[in-house]
Amino acid sequence: MSEMVTKRRSTHPMKIVALLIVVTCLTLFPFVVTNRFYISLVNEMLIYGLLAMSLDVLLGYTGLLSFMHNAYLGLGAYVVGLFLIHVAPSSLWLALLAGVVVTSVIALPVGWVQVRTGGLAFALLTLAFGMMFYTIVWKWYSLTGGDDGLMGVPHPDIQVLGITLGSSGNPTTMYLLSLCIVFICFLLTWRIIHSPFGAVLEAIRENEERASFVGINVRRYKLYGWMYACMLAGVSGGLFILYRGYIGPTTMSAFAGAGVLMMVLVGGMGSLWGPIVGAGIFIFMQDYISTMTEHWELFVGLVVIMLVLFLPRGFIGLGDYLTRFRKE
């Protein structure tokens, strides 16, 4: 798996400056472009960016492949939506918390079974369990609305320390909330990846057998990595339903899962920010191309094949390549 690794470790001051510039631009975006369609589009990029980043924790840092990480976004979203509809229509933070907690509670036994079976079966099982969640959501008509989707989720006000910042139904306010949470999750994940814990995950990615022969309980750490990735996916799901106000099982389908995988591939595994960029590119292309062609699947398939064959490190790989090219 050594091809996936980015060797950069030190935090260059320029990186911090670049990060600040990007965040500032993103913050100003809804005030410059006021069309609510584009605000929503970038919001979706951020949310899927968070999901792709969480998949990167699994794929790029732990070396585990999850075909249907979107299932956990879906679970988080359904839980938050159902919480807002049936339990407390106005408590946004409680709903988000419930989303993360329930997603984790569901992900735990699934992860436990998956890590016991080894690397390849793990990947196949993510697909099978993903399909199971998809089937359940789609069949449990009375709770989830089945194929008709969960509609009419209330838009609670966003309150921090008792101060109301605005309604989550307002695209701009919701956008800023997403940006804020995605940014926090990014920093948190960055910290975790560079901690001793992150080092263990990397060791497992590099050589699972060796990892267990230096005394690492591989299954347990894989499960920790899985749980963290699923929690982040749960957060992204919460944001998703808050921004959309509705969700359907399609979000949890295998095809949507391939999309998330493609975001990580396009951006490049093992960099955290790469997949976020990948999500941006993917969602932009999806919006742009699906209006032009009905053969969207052909396109997705071709791009995935090309990426694996010629650009296995994605967007960052391209960046590295260009830098090297210039030096030569």
Binding site: E297, L298, G301, V304, V308
Partner: protein
């Protein structure tokens, strides 16, 4: 309708379902066992087989002739795929093969949609197969029985091929001790390509027989792919006997579930898989040899 008649119906239905699952899953398992490639596009090759069968029959070929020709066409497609896009990633981590074949799956589905469109297709059967046969108080379609027979013939053929022919023995030896085979001077390139072609032949057969059984549509392979995963994961990765056991187990459970609880049939199958794996992480008959 009497109890026996219902029971016969259910048993035959589950055998037919299990048989189709088995042919697809065992093809996937052979490719994995012999060449260490988990081909996620296998379901799409199965769909392609069905479409090939449809086109052949629609252009006037006899159904049984199509049953022979279509799998060979799929084998050719499979060989091209193996040579052109799988060989370059063979040396890389299995994660890349998985992602690559996942992309291939969507590409093939898109291609099918492009050439054959979205509308459902049916393979026209010869008249004698459109009858029903009275068995134990129920009327069972002849072509379903023919399907069962085809499954059995394909499986016996496969067993004879792997067990009795020189080619089959080489392939099997390669799966358990690849080092030894390359020592013996057998070309691994040939083994890999052969395994892929064999798997594709099986996918093609399954495609043609499920044409009249279900409907042919561009995404028919997705569900089949997931089901065959369930089969080989429950049976044990790389274990052929495990796949046989698991396929018929799933066929039976799914048919019973559809008959009695209808709504949650697939969920019950997945739950059964989770339970089996919780206690036997390597599946029913998996030795973990291929891990």
């Amino acid at each position: 309708m009497s109890f026996t008649a219902i029971a016969v119906d259910i048993i035959l239905n589950s055998l037919v379902l299990g048989g189709v699952l088995l042919i697809v899953a065992i093809g996937l398992n052979i490719i994995y066992g012999l060449s260490r490639v988990m081909n996620l596009a296998h379901g799409s090759l199965y769909a392609l087989g069905a479409y090939a069968g449809f086109t052949l029959v629609a252009s006037g070929l006899n159904y049984f002739a199509a049953l022979l020709v279509a799998p060979l066409l799929i084998a050719v497609v499979g060989l091209i795929i193996e040579r052109v896009i799988i060989v370059p990633v063979r040396k890389r981590s299995i994660v890349y093969t998985l992602i690559l074949t996942y992309g291939l799956m969507f590409f093939l589905d898109g291609l099918i949609k492009y050439f054959w469109g979205n509308e459902p297709r049916f393979i026209e059967l010869p008249q004698f197969m459109r009858q029903t046969l009275p068995i134990a108080g129920t009327h069972y379609p002849v072509f379903r029985l023919v399907t069962l027979l085809t499954t059995a013939v394909a499986m016996i053929g496969l067993m004879l091929f792997l067990g009795k022919t020189k080619l089959g023995i080489i392939l099997r030896a390669a799966s358990s001790i690849p080092e030894m085979v390359s020592c013996m001077g057998i070309n691994m390139t040939f083994v890999h390509a052969g395994a892929f072609a064999l798997g594709c032949v099986l996918a093609g057969i399954a495609g043609v027989i499920s044409g009249p059984l279900y409907t042919i549509d561009p995404i028919m392979g997705h569900e089949m792919l997931i089901s065959s995963f369930v089969v080989i994961v429950i049976g044990g990765l790389g274990s052929l006997r495990g796949a046989v056991l698991a396929a018929f187990l799933i066929g039976l459970v799914q048919t019973l579930a559809e008959f009695f609880v209808t709504d949650l049939a697939m969920v019950i199958v997945y739950m059964m898989m989770a339970l089996i794996l919780a206690f036997m992480p390597r599946g029913l008959l998996g030795e973990g040899r291929f891990e």
